[in-house]
């Protein structure tokens, strides 16, 4: 079995895969366009047990003392066996460095999630106002704080400008001014009533 149909998950015969642009699943009649690449035909990587067997005088793996070292980590220099050697970004990394880099977000290619602070700031500035959750004062203050605090924090991996931050600050300032005017009017009204 080489490939499955993406619709019915039935295995596709080779003559269907070879049809390329005009393929059709024989089970569900789904029209398919299939591109196959050499990685599909590559045999799964298998480890030879002899490569792991350590002999006297040979360096051992940092994580498996009973296994022969096959490479050294490009980041920390530890010896690692063929089981532990992880090829990443054109070099060999040990599992510990990979885990550290992932947890500490030290390598951009290991990041799988980013908070979008500019969207959060804009949301904090606009949603309380739009949904009439009055007063929007805490939201405005939070939006200004987030915009200033995270202005230089790396944003998205894909192109993204700062207009959300700017808009969040402007809306928040407008809301604060509006709030101040309302409070002032209220106080004036109370004073006039008292007189």
């Amino acid at each position: 079995m080489l490939l499955d149909c993406t619709r019915c998950h039935a295995s596709l015969p080779v003559w269907v895969i070879k049809a390329g642009d005009a393929a059709m699943c024989p089970a569900c009649n789904a029209g398919l366009t299939i591109r196959v690449f050499p990685a599909l035909l590559a045999p799964p990587r298998e480890l030879n047990p002899d490569d792991l067997r350590i002999e006297a005088g040979e360096a051992s793996c940092f994580y498996h003392l009973s296994k022969r070292a096959a490479a050294s980590c490009a980041r920390c220099g530890r010896f690692v066996c063929a089981l532990c050697a992880v090829e990443f970004d054109g070099a060999v990394w040990c599992p510990g460095c990979l885990s550290d880099a992932h947890a500490g977000r030290k390598h951009v290619r290991l990041e799988n999630r980013r908070l979008l602070w500019d969207s959060i700031a804009l949301g904090a500035a606009t949603w309380p106002f739009v949904l009439l959750l009055w007063p929007a004062l805490p939201g405005s203050l939070a939006a200004i704080f987030i915009s200033i605090r995270y202005w230089k924090r790396p944003g998205s991996l894909i192109p993204r400008t700062k207009w959300r931050f700017i808009l969040a600050i402007l809306i928040s300032l407008a809301e604060l001014v509006l709030f101040a005017v309302l409070v002032y009017s209220f106080v004036q009204g109370v004073r006039q009533t008292a007189r």
């Binding site: 080489l2 591109r35 990041e111 980013r114």
Partner: protein, 315 residues
């Protein structure tokens, strides 16, 4: 100094209710970005590990059950508004129905395919490639990049241990045409019944037309049932069977429901000796018309698309 951005977008932005999905080509990998408004999630596919890309053509003009239920609710609201003379309810119902129709048309026209990427670990749907021409362009770009990373596929890549030679496609048997012909006739019968039902609403109609309407209604019920029976073991007609089942239920309930409800109301009126001002005829008329016209047209579109797809894919 301005640094060059390391990613190039492939395909389009797939807008969602909360955020959007995009696909990017970077150095040595493909990046799938899932934007959830306040957070972005990334998934990378190394070009050397991509085994295959499969673009699946999607059936257009299909009716999802949730959409049908929503339409039924909107239509019910509109009819109830008409019957009880609540204009706001009537207008809301028709507006909701129009919006649902527009949504269905847009989803059917624009969502014509889905693109899946296969690695040794699993299969993933690529975002942003929801139209065939976009997928075709993206496939060209990806094909070039992946071939550069992996090299070309050998000419004789079919391994010796793949025993299945290309089996000849089954010859078109005249008996196989019966379900298709019957389904097409059933769709036409539904449309004809809708036409007759519209004609008999005119005042002072002839008895022949009335009889013709009754005959058309009977045919509009019998032919879908026959089509369901004939194609009951054929996977290709699964959608048509579901559709015909809905049609039979709708036409049956519209034609006989009117009689039943009128009888019931007459009994209530007699019991209370007071007239009840509820016009049920409009409700059942519109139920009949919408069910027959939409299902009939949809069935014909589906059959036409299915026949065309089979012609294209025949090796």
């Amino acid at each position: 100094m301005k640094t060059e951005f390391p990613y190039r977008r492939i395909g389009r932005r797939a807008p969602l209710i909360l955020g959007s999905d995009t696909l990017w080509l970077g150095s040595g990998h493909v990046l799938s970005v899932r934007n959830r408004r306040f957070v972005e999630e990334y998934r990378r596919f190394d070009l050397r590990e991509i085994q295959a890309i499969v673009v699946q053509k999607r059936a257009r003009f299909v009716l999802p059950v949730y959409w049908l239920l929503a339409c039924a609710a909107a239509f019910g609201a509109a009819v109830a508004g008409t019957a009880y003379d609540k204009k706001w309810l009537t207008y809301s119902g028709w507006a909701a129905l129009a919006l649902l129709g527009a949504y269905w048309a847009v989803a059917s026209i624009f969502g014509s395919c889905s693109c899946h990427l296969r690695t040794a670990v699993g299969s993933y749907e690529l975002p942003g490639l929801y139209r065939r021409w976009i997928a075709r362009r993206a496939l060209q770009t990806l094909d070039a990049s992946i071939s550069e990373a992996q090299g070309a596929l050998p000419e004789d890549w079919i391994a010796d241990d793949t025993p299945d030679p290309a089996p000849p496609p089954p010859e078109a048997n005249p008996a196989d045409r019966l379900p298709t012909v019957l389904a097409a006739l059933a769709c036409i019968a539904l449309l004809l019944d809708a036409l007759f039902s519209w004609l008999v609403r005119a005042p002072n109609i002839s008895r022949t037309l009335r009889a013709g309407n009754m005959l058309a209604t009977v045919i509009a019920v019998v032919l879908p049932v026959a089509s369901i029976v004939v194609s009951r073991r054929d996977k290709r007609f699964q959608f048509m069977r579901t559709m015909f089942l809905i049609a039979v239920l709708a036409v049956g309930s519209a034609n006989y429901g009117n009689t039943v409800v009128n009888t019931f109301l007459a009994a209530v009126q007699r019991a209370q000796a007071e007239p009840i001002d509820i016009s049920t005829g409009d409700f059942f008329y519109w139920l009949n018309q919408i069910a027959e016209v939409s299902l009939g047209l949809l069935g014909l579109l589906h059959l036409a698309g299915d026949t065309r797809r089979r012609q294209i894919s025949a090796p």
